[in-house]
Symmetry: C2
Subunit: 86 residues, 2 copies
Amino acid sequence: MPPELVGRVTAHLPRLSRAVMQLTSAEGFNILQNNGSVAGQHVPHVHFHIIPRVGTDGLGYRWLKSTYAPGRAEQVQRQLRDILRS
Amino acid sequence: MPPELVGRVTAHLPRLSRAVMQLTSAEGFNILQNNGSVAGQHVPHVHFHIIPRVGTDGLGYRWLKSTYAPGRAEQVQRQLRDILRS
């Protein structure tokens, strides 16, 4: 998706999120955007989920409880920087 | 966050996401943005998580397995539309 178009679409998120918050009286919200079926995308066009949250809802992201080996995070950071600079 | 600023920040997401995908050889990715501590926000400024995904990673969003009563979804939709029009 072209960066300019991403920017134009996402510029609507604050207004939409405020409306969802006003309607639900939630305490916070997640914005979730899935790319690819392995990432949970089931509708084949770009779309954003606005998910109102309260402290007792039990929702959230399932994380793997694992850590990088020492030095691995810095290595990934360097590699990512190299790709972005190339 | 002002809509214009949201647009300018998110316009970088395609480039950054491509770099993450190139580095990790992932099959998909999630973009996750958390607002409020109940939503999992622990760093007190606006930021986006780019989460590379593969089919076997076991990650994902924990959903509540419940459904709206008949007619409730349409009611919420109408209320949201009213808020956005007001």
